[in-house]
């Protein structure tokens, strides 16, 4: 682009529109890879843990979820290092905060339930006197769906909003119909619809 001072009004508007659109495309495209990566991690871990749970022991294999966070963050760090130069934007920060909050809530919930399962915390701590039916897969699916829907709203993408609704509500009610390792198949489906499909959609839409 050269320094040209003889611009027409139309050319000026075209430059403004092109610059903003190009910048938006780059940011959207770069937000797709982490979504696909985390989606693949959740799908593979869900199926792997479900297999181990069913064939080689019991729910103790759920401890492997802690490894997911390690693998996920290591992959994310590599993706961040190799991705294109992208600027800091309000939209990027909002999406980052939404998914960080999701991670903190799911991690916190998983840790508390894990400690209770191991006997390190008393069951009465979370279920004092009333009988509560808790299904962690339902709750995590709902959080997934909300994260995806908010991402779709922030980047104004209808497909992602619909994927978020389907993953969140479908996963919440779907998980209630299954028990044991079968719930992990629901988790895999939720990650496929709530993370991988939106990630691939963003990536395809923003290819130059």
């Amino acid at each position: 682009m050269e320094e040209n001072n003889n611009l027409t009004a139309e050319r000026s508007l075209e430059i403004i529109r092109e610059s903003i659109e190009r910048s938006q495309r780059t940011m959207n495209k770069n937000s797709a890879i982490p979504l696909i990566w985390w989606g693949l991690c959740v799908v593979l871990f869900s199926l792997f843990i479900a297999y181990l749970w069913k064939n080689h022991g019991g729910p103790a294999w759920n401890m492997l979820w802690a490894v997911l966070w390690l693998v996920g963050y290591a992959g994310n760090w590599i993706i961040d290092k190799h991705r294109e130069n992208i600027p800091t934007t309000f939209v990027g920060k909002v999406i980052g905060h939404v998914w960080s909050t999701f991670g903190v809530f799911c991690c916190g919930m998983g840790m508390i339930l894990g400690f209770i399962g191991c006997g390190m915390l008393p069951m009465e701590l979370i279920m004092p006197k009333v009988c509560v039916f808790g299904c962690i897969t339902s709750i995590i699916s709902l959080c997934f769906g909300m994260g995806t829907t908010i991402t779709g709203l922030v980047i104004r993408n209808r497909t992602i909003q619909v994927c978020g609704l389907l993953a969140g509500l479908g996963g919440f009610f779907g998980a209630l119909h299954f028990t044991g390792h079968a719930q992990l198949y629901v988790m895999a489906a939720v990650a496929l619809i709530g993370l991988i499909v939106p990630g691939v959609t963003i990536f395809m839409q923003n290819q130059k």
Binding site: M1, E3, N5, L7, S19, S23, P87
Partner: protein, 97 residues
């Protein structure tokens, strides 16, 4: 009646730089170079002009061990951009009449 166009923004490269920065909080020099397709020397000169006018802030910092130049738009830059777009509208209105 045509409104006057800010001569500092009425340049292809400077307008592209400000348009990029308007939609971001801050951007690194290589990103702006990639997006505008300008040469490093030319871009540097134009960024200096915008910075001297108070339209953008330039911060020289480090990213790990590598030097990193960060650019961000200032409130004066946002105001100038808004006025430029308003002025453009007056030209377009005349043409569409």
């Amino acid at each position: 009646m045509f409104k006057p166009l800010d001569p500092l923004l009425h340049s292809e490269l400077r307008l592209a730089v400000v348009s990029l920065l308007i939609s971001t909080e801050e951007a690194e020099f290589p990103y702006i170079r990639e997006q505008t397709g300008a040469t490093a020397g030319n871009l540097s000169v134009q960024i200096d002009k915008l910075s001297a006018a108070g339209y953008i802030e330039v911060e020289k910092t480090f990213k790990g061990r590598k030097p990193c130049t960060l650019c961000r738009i200032t409130p004066a830059g946002v105001k100038a951009f808004e006025e430029y777009v308003e002025a453009l509208k007056s030209y377009l209105k005349v043409k569409t009449k």
